[in-house]
Symmetry: C2
Subunit: 184 residues, 2 copies
């Protein structure tokens, strides 16, 4: 499963064949089918393991003293976003993958929203003006978008965007006294 994830990240899901996975894992192709009936089952196992680890980290982030930044950092991990992009593409034509990825995305959204709600409320942000679900969507999705662009080699505007995000983190998350004034 480790080998599968690595190949998917480095060369795309189409390159994750039973032969290549086995070679990287140091075993023979037939052994892959001893543990996983089909390649789809292997992909699903990789997805579930990644989702489980990711959700665990996210539950930790909820209790973080700066959940917004924790969310940003988590979704800026190139290893994570690379895999996620591959699974998104895979989900396009593998029904089972799509179903699993959808379930995962919805659980993530719930957790993210909960974390952001706590953070915003704790700092007196108007939850009608800044709905937690919308804020969490911006933070996690933009972090992923920037990561995807970085992988592609596009970094134009990234510096300015990070500064832009930082300003809002200050306002919404770890509000310093200076930023409280700005909010008013």
């Amino acid at each position: 499963m480790e080998a599968t994830a690595q190949i998917m990240r480095d060369q795309g899901y189409a390159a994750a064949t039973s032969r290549r996975v086995a070679a990287l894992a140091g075993v023979k192709p037939a052994l892959v089918y001893y543990y996983f009936a089909t390649m789809d089952d292997l992909f699903l196992a990789v997805l579930r393991a990644g989702a489980k680890a990711s959700l665990a980290r996210m539950r930790q982030a909820i209790t973080d003293d700066d959940p917004l930044r924790a969310l940003w950092v988590m979704n800026s991990d190139l290893r994570f976003t690379g895999l996620y992009t591959e699974f998104m593409a895979l989900a396009n034509h593998r029904k089972a993958i799509g179903t699993e990825l959808k379930a995962y995305a919805e659980r993530v959204r719930d957790l993210e929203t909960a974390a952001v709600t706590v953070a915003l409320r704790a700092h007196g942000v108007d939850l009608d003006e800044y709905p937690p679900v919308a804020v969490s969507m911006v933070v996690s999705q933009m972090a992923r978008s920037l990561s995807n662009e970085t992988t592609l080699g596009v970094t134009e505007g990234h510096g300015e965007f990070r500064k832009f995000v930082e300003r809002h983190f200050d306002r919404f998350g770890s509000a310093s006294s200076a930023e409280r004034t700005q909010r008013a």
Copy 2:
């Protein structure tokens, strides 16, 4: 090329083989290689054609009386975002695709930023507080993210997010939805 794009959208890039493309186009596989030396060349041609059409629409959007909403609408087109996601995944392990996609993404960013700069400045928005490049990134990337999620079947928070975006469109000086209704 039309058949290739359709298959990529519906079944993923890995399904766009010379056989299937030819079948959908109503010709024989060998003919594909008469027009395109390799499958990579075909993918590149599809990418270039799509990029050209997309850039043309974007230049139009600059002169639109509501560039921000035009940007949002353009990047909410499921046909466009589906293809874009596939090319992102393809770029992971096809160097030529990656180079082309990067060049395209950078030209898009320049155009978007120009359009947003004009729009914000025209309505007296503070460009230091809301850097045009950051605003354009949020608008286009979030539109794509929502489209990708919709394709996956995830719509949680989408309604709230759209309202959130509408409020900011209004605040940034674009005609409010009420005004647009009046005009219509």
